[in-house]
Structure formats: structure tokens, C-alpha cells
């Protein structure tokens, strides 16, 4: 009986199949072919997905969709090798692994699934090699591991598709020239590589969580992929308490996403969110990894940020939130990982603990920060406080200033509504 005869089953199987398996297949083929043939691996996987897209509508979904994709991708790679007369021992290895690949996705082959996760891990760590620029690491990870197209990456990072495509080509050339492969480094170098990978994942999530422009408030696909990669790193043989802390942080943040927009696509601020909409499974995932992050001595910025997110996650309301504890955590964070954005967030907590005047002073001390010059939340936060104090004119000016800075459409609309509140005069009754 084919999977297609169970509509529900086939939908479940196919739901995230392409995105989830694309990176794995590229990683697997790259291991077998050698890192210098990453392009062939990508081409072959693209070919397999295309074949599925073109034939499954007519023939239905095969019994083992993942195994089908692996088989077709492997054959496509073999064709390219033959075509380019690269046949050698690579072909022999291929044939040797043929049987394994065919059973991918079936429940009986947990060894192969384990091997695939290892391939994927090596691929992430390869893409996050410190010789590559940070931009290149992020783009490469999204492309080869996350299965994002250059167009999708460009959209997420407000860049041109051709610029991203060039960045990818350059990064791959650099990897070839430097002989960067899938070998796992050890000791200090491994720790460095893992740090770099965690940073890439963190950036990816941030970009998804607060889209810098566009019609959507956040980009769930980027958030999902970042969380998936964080879990891959944390649960792997090279996982560290830091990696678990990052998973916890991302899971807590992702859990709140469903409550951040209302049914009309409008932005809902934390204090007004329906906490019943928070994703319970993600909260549980967050707390589980938060527990695992407590092993070891080190308290990283990820630990502190996860602890802050955990306070929000466990509070039943704005009033129920332990702001004092949160302020302590922000103070610690300013010591181990200070940044103007952290300082801004801390200032908002200062308002809750010490009052508007103190918070406002903290915010104003950030006015000269270069890195916040284009950050709309700085003037927006100050404006909110001024509005609470009844200083409407100055608040209106700052909301207007915030509107000049890049943000998503829902954020813009929220700023416009707040601005309108400043301008509002007593209603007249004729």
C-alpha cells in the first residue's frame, strides 16, 4: 500500500520533507564525494527535488519518500561524475553506500539516520569556519544546510540576489583554496568552530525574529531553521552547556511568536499578549535545554539571555514577572556580553524596577551609540515613556524619528498608532 493511499500520512511525511532532507542529502553526498565537490552535491539534490515535484503529482507519493529522494540524488550525482569523467573510487564508494541510502527515512535504519545527523553537523561546522567572513558563514549555512535559495537569503538579509550568489561563490572558492573539509577539528579549534556556529545560529534567529523590513513582523522559516540547527549542535557529540543555553533561549523566544501578531497581522506587545497562545511544546523544550545548560561552570551570554527569557516564559502576566531578578541578570549580561542593544533592553527593565525617570536616563545615555543610529526601538522606547509622562509633543517627535528607521510593516503601523495617540486631542461633541 503506498503512502498516498493514506492522505494524512502522506501529508505528514511530505510536510517538511524537502527543507529537512535537502541539507542532509547535500551533507551526505558531500561526505561521499569530498568537500571539493560540494557543487555537484547541491546540483544533485536540486535535481532529486525537481524530479519529485514533477512526478509525484502524477504517480503519488512513494512508500518511502526520503529513501526515494536519496536514491535519485545519488544517481544524479553519479551521472554528473560520469559526465565529468570523475569516475574513480568515488563511484565504488557510492555503490557501497547505495543500499544504506535507499532505506533513509524508514524506521528500521536508525544507524543511517544517526550518520546523517553527523554529516549535517560536520557540514554546519564546515560552513562556520572562522576564515570565512561572518556574512559568508550565515549565507553558506542557510544555503547548504537549510536549503534556502539565494533569493530567499537575499530577502531575509535585505540584499540583492546577485550579491548573495556572489558571496556564496566566493565562500566556496575560499573553502576549496584553504582546503576546508568536513573533518571535525579537535581541542581549541573545535571550541572555536562551535562558538562560530552558535553565533551564526543566533544571528539567523534574530533576523527571523525581528525582520528588518517587509510585510511580516517575523520570518518563521528562519526562526525554525535556527532552532533546528541549535538543537542539532546541542544534541551532538560536540554539544556544550552553551549550545543547550542557546536552544533554550531560541525555544523560549519562538514559543511567543504565535502571540506576537493578532489575526489581522498587527503587532501585539508583550504586555498585551494572550499568554495562552504561547507554544507549550516549545516552552517545554526550552526548559528542558535550560536544565541541561546548567551543567558546567561557565555562564555565557546565552545562559543569561536564556535565564531572562525563562522569567518571561514562567510569568503568568506582566505584573507577575520577576523584574528585579531580571534586572540582576541584565547587570550580569552587561558584564559578560555588553552591547548597546542589551543596554537598551536593560533600560526598559529599569523602568519596571526603579521607575520611569531612571529608565529614561539610561535610555538617553545611549543616544550617541553609533550602532543604534538606525535602531527604531531606541526612539520608540523613549517616546513610550514620554507619552506615559504626558509629554506628548516630544513623544510625537520621537515616534516620527522611529518611523524613519528600518522596520517591518506591522511595526511601522504600530508606531503610527502610537504617534496618533500623542496627537490625540480631547474628542469634541457637536
Amino acid at each position: 500500500m503506498s503512502a498516498a493511499s493514506h492522505p494524512q500520512l502522506s501529508n505528514e511525511l511530505v510536510d517538511h520533507l524537502f527543507r529537512n532532507r535537502a541539507g542532509q542529502m547535500v551533507a551526505y553526498l558531500t561526505r561521499v564525494l569530498g568537500a571539493e565537490h560540494l557543487d555537484i552535491a547541491e546540483e544533485a539534490v536540486q535535481e532529486a527535488l525537481l524530479k519529485a515535484l514533477q512526478t509525484w503529482p502524477y504517480n503519488g507519493v512513494p512508500d518511502n519518500p526520503a529513501g526515494w529522494l536519496f536514491r535519485v540524488a545519488r544517481n544524479a550525482a553519479l551521472d554528473v561524475l560520469r559526465h565529468r569523467k570523475l569516475v574513480s573510487q568515488k563511484t565504488a564508494e557510492f555503490v557501497a553506500t547505495a543500499e544504506m541510502g535507499s532505506s533513509a527515512g524508514s524506521s528500521g535504519d536508525s544507524d543511517f539516520e544517526e550518520k546523517l545527523r553527523d554529516d549535517e553537523l560536520r557540514m554546519v561546522l564546515m560552513c562556520c569556519h572562522p576564515v570565512l567572513s561572518q556574512d559568508a558563514r550565515v549565507a553558506l549555512s542557510l544555503k547548504t544546510v537549510g536549503g534556502f535559495s539565494a533569493r530567499e537569503i537575499a530577502k531575509a538579509f535585505l540584499s540583492e540576489e546577485t550579491a548573495i550568489a556572489q558571496r556564496l561563490v566566493r565562500a566556496k572558492r575560499q573553502m576549496r583554496e584553504e582546503g576546508i573539509g568536513l573533518e571535525l577539528p579537535s581541542g581549541k579549534e573545535l571550541a572555536q568552530r562551535l562558538d562560530s556556529a552558535l553565533e551564526v545560529v543566533y544571528l539567523m534567529f534574530n533576523e527571523g525574529y525581528a525582520a528588518q523590513s517587509g510585510p511580516e513582523l517575523f520570518r518563521k522559516d528562519l526562526c525554525d531553521e535556527a532552532l533546528r540547527l541549535a538543537q542539532l549542535l546541542a544534541d551532538s557529540s560536540v554539544g556544550t552547556p552553551q549550545a543547550h543555553a542557546l536552544v533554550a533561549l531560541l525555544a523560549f523566544q519562538a514559543a511567543r511568536l504565535p502571540a506576537r501578531v493578532d489575526s489581522q497581522g498587527e503587532m501585539v506587545l508583550l504586555e498585551e499578549q494572550d499568554r495562552g497562545l504561547w507554544d507549550q511544546a516549545l516552552l517545554a523544550l526550552g526548559f528542558r535545554h535550560f536544565g541541561l545548560s546548567a551543567e558546567g561552570e561557565e555562564i555565557s551570554p546565552y545562559h543569561l539571555q536564556a535565564a531572562i527569557a525563562a522569567i518571561h516564559a514562567s510569568a503568568s502576566s506582566e505584573a507577575d514577572t520577576d523584574w528585579e531578578h531580571m534586572l540582576q541578570l541584565y547587570d550580569e549580561l552587561m558584564e559578560v556580553g555588553p552591547s548597546p542593544v542589551v543596554a537598551l533592553n536593560r533600560a526598559v527593565v529599569v523602568v519596571k524596577v526603579k521607575g520611569i525617570a531612571d529608565g529614561l536616563a539610561e535610555l538617553r545615555s545611549l543616544a550617541e551609540e553609533k550602532s543604534l543610529r538606525n535602531y527604531y526601538l531606541l526612539p520608540a522606547a523613549e517616546a513610550s515613556l514620554l507619552l506615559q509622562m504626558g509629554e506628548r509633543d516630544e513623544a510625537a517627535r520621537l515616534f516620527r524619528e522611529a518611523l524613519k528607521r528600518p522596520c517591518s510593516e506591522p511595526e511601522k503601523r504600530l508606531l503610527v498608532r502610537r504617534w496618533a495617540e500623542c496627537e490625540a486631542i480631547a474628542p469634541c461633541f457637536y
Binding site: A4, P7, F18, L53, Q54, P57, F148, S149, E152
Partner: protein, 118 residues
């Protein structure tokens, strides 16, 4: 009930530039459409044809073989579905939500001549 053949004409390169995510979305739409036909028990058969021009042969004593029939255009018949429907209107109604149209393809609908006397 009469059978109708739905011939899906289109440019096979349409799907080539899709990312895994976009391809996934397209596939899901196609599978949902196929599933609707199947669950209504009107899907008689379907097959994918290879995305190439194919060959055309004509003449009897010295048959001439050419590429074609669409060798000048990018369009090919990508495949077909055979469905049961009361009449042309009903057959066309089943095509309206076929994702092939959304992706720029056209569907040629032809009624199958029934075998006389059955």
C-alpha cells in the same frame, strides 16, 4: 460516466529555479489536488511524460522522423490525468483549482470517445 483526458501543457523549466521551500509548497498543492480527485473516486489514471520534445513520425513508405511536435517552443505536454465527469463543464470545474494553472501552465481538456455499444 464519460472520461476526460486532461493534458497538462507547460514550460518544464518553471520548477527548475524553485528553492526546496518553494518546491515543497508547489508539491503540496499538487498532492492536495490529486488527493481530492482520488477521494472523490473520479481519478481514472495519470502519467508523467518526459520533459522533452519527443519524436514525430509521418509517411508510410519512407516514414520521416522529426523532433517535435513542439521543438520550436519551450512548451511540452508534461503529463496527463484521466478523470470521470458528467460533461465538459464538470471536467473544467475539476481543473480550476489545479495548481498547474497557478504556475503558468495550460490544461487541454478532451473527452474520451466511449466504445460504442457498451
Amino acid at each position: 460516466m464519460p472520461n476526460y483526458m486532461l493534458l497538462l501543457h507547460g514550460d518544464p523549466t518553471t520548477y527548475k529555479t524553485m528553492s526546496p521551500e518553494e518546491g515543497q509548497k508547489a508539491l503540496q498543492k499538487f498532492l492536495a489536488w490529486r488527493e481530492r480527485l482520488r477521494s472523490q473516486k473520479i481519478l481514472v489514471g495519470s502519467a508523467k511524460l518526459k520533459d522533452e520534445a519527443g519524436k514525430v513520425i509521418r509517411g508510410s513508405s519512407q516514414p520521416r522522423v522529426t523532433d517535435g511536435p513542439y521543438s520550436e517552443t519551450k512548451e511540452v505536454v508534461g503529463g496527463y490525468f484521466t478523470i470521470e465527469a458528467q460533461n465538459y463543464d464538470a471536467a473544467l470545474a475539476h481543473c480550476r483549482d489545479c495548481p498547474h494553472l497557478e504556475y503558468g501552465g495550460t490544461i487541454e481538456v478532451r473527452e474520451v470517445e466511449p466504445v460504442p455499444g457498451t
